[in-house]
């Protein structure tokens, strides 16, 4: 439910760093709290964000929640399939439920993120 090899943010996003690209989505805990996701508002390719800036919005049946970009960078790809199948965020949050890919601006931002165990601690799971 909380894969190793990923970094986590306090706002419940996960980051997969591969070279100078980071793939970002929301965690199992986040999608569970939100309930059925019905819509994801993603930024345009080319948008630039500072660490922990708002990059979009995830809407579920019961609420609308802000998405924060854990690592600074420029958006190079967005997951267009979420427009048709937003439920992928619930069913496969770390796989087909990915949201954006950014070209990393400052790799040092990753140092401020949480490890698996730190994140599990934050949300109170073992």
């Amino acid at each position: 439910m909380y894969p190793d090899g990923l970094k986590y943010s306090k706002e419940h996003e996960w980051v997969r760093i591969e070279g100078d690209t980071a793939t970002i989505g929301i965690t199992f805990h986040a999608q569970n709290e939100l309930g059925d996701v019905v819509y994801v508002e993603l930024p345009k390719v080319g948008s630039k964000f500072n660490a922990m800036a708002e990059f979009g919005v995830v809407e579920s049946v019961k609420t609308v929640s802000t998405l924060y970009c854990p690592i600074s960078g420029e958006v190079v790809e967005i997951n267009g399939s979420l427009a048709k199948t937003p439920e992928a965020v619930n069913k496969d949050p770390y796989g087909t439920g990915w949201m954006i890919k950014v070209k990393i601006g400052n790799i040092a931002d990753a140092d401020k993120l949480l490890s698996v165990s730190e994140y599990k601690n934050l949300i109170g799971v073992k």
Partner: protein, 433 residues
Amino acid sequence: MGEMLSSIGKRSVDELFADIPDNVKLKGLKGIPDGCSEVELKNGLASLSRKNAPAGSCVSFLGAGSCEHFMPSVVNHIISRSEFYTAYTPYQPEMSQGILQAIFEYQSMICDLTGMDAANASMYDGATALAEAVSASICHTGKKKVLISKAVHPNYRQVVRTYGEGFGWEILELDYDNTGVTDIKVFEKMLDDKVACVVLANPNFFGNIENIKVFTSAARSKGIMSIVSVDPISLGILKRPGDLGADIVTGEGQSLGLPRNFGGPCLGIFAVKKEYLRLMPGRIVGETIDKEGRRGYVLTLQAREQHIRREKASSNICSNEALCALAAAVYLAVMGKQGLREVANQCLQKANYLKEKISRIKGYSIAFKAPSFKEFVVKAPSAIGKINRMLAKKSIIGGLDLGQYYPEFKNHMLLCVTELTKKEGMDKLASLL
């Protein structure tokens, strides 16, 4: 009570009403003594009210946003049903399928009428609906400049300014040309990448028909949203704003089976193209299926609203005009496509008849060359106030004194003709001018 007053720093209850102008405050009823019996009171009040000339007893040529249209009696019959009339916020789907379905039908008919993809369950009135459309476009584009035609209802423009004050919207007005429609050349000069939206009314306040398409095309090329405020009756014959490139359509639905009622309650129409669905403020009824696969209706997309989204929402509206929307739905269903077309056609033909007739009266002229729908502006040889007082003595309510709203139009009158206006009434007016 003295204690309550002093704790808020007031000396009398009257001080709480200080905002109301003194000249409209009631200072006792003339001719009705204190301590009279119920019968004496009723008689006294009845004789006072007989001094009034209720609109129904006069021939009226006054429009400017609220006018007299046919109200099929079935409208009142249906909205008076206590299930509709007394229900407050009837949106719990388990027990409100009737009203939810009726509002869904209303929304669907508004989409049909305007050529848009989605409509909400209504706003308070045409003016606030327009202000909300501006707000939505500003939220969406992230820009702060608004270009609004001077030919949009002056009260609507004032409401937009009121909404924008706290937010710092930069509201710029587009001039009209001498034919009586918004000047496209002025618009093209003012277009830039800081503009969120362009706002037009069709027909405009002068009654003239705007060239919507030329504005929406120019706006689209710069990523500017187009907002069109309409008279729904005119859509019985005019092209739909949705087909002419409008991104948001708003309007006043009073003409759809609602009485004038001293100016309210009104009905704010709000409809959008598909891509702006989530921008739409207020309540939206959606169609869905229950766990047994049966069709049902619910309020939907509620997570966008400010009671959940808080400072991210574009609006703080948490209500609608359900009963008025129901009345409009009944009106549209009863009149149907043919009926609405007939109403619109009669408005057009009758207004043109009066326009022609007045143009031939010595001292009077038609102010604008542009084609008009049910309202038009005439230039009179003397002050409108004086003319209207003379007409009132003959049980005719004259048109709006346009000079009160546009100083350049002193001695100009805005006349409104509807399907209910009789030829005799128009002939009588012409004979008195």
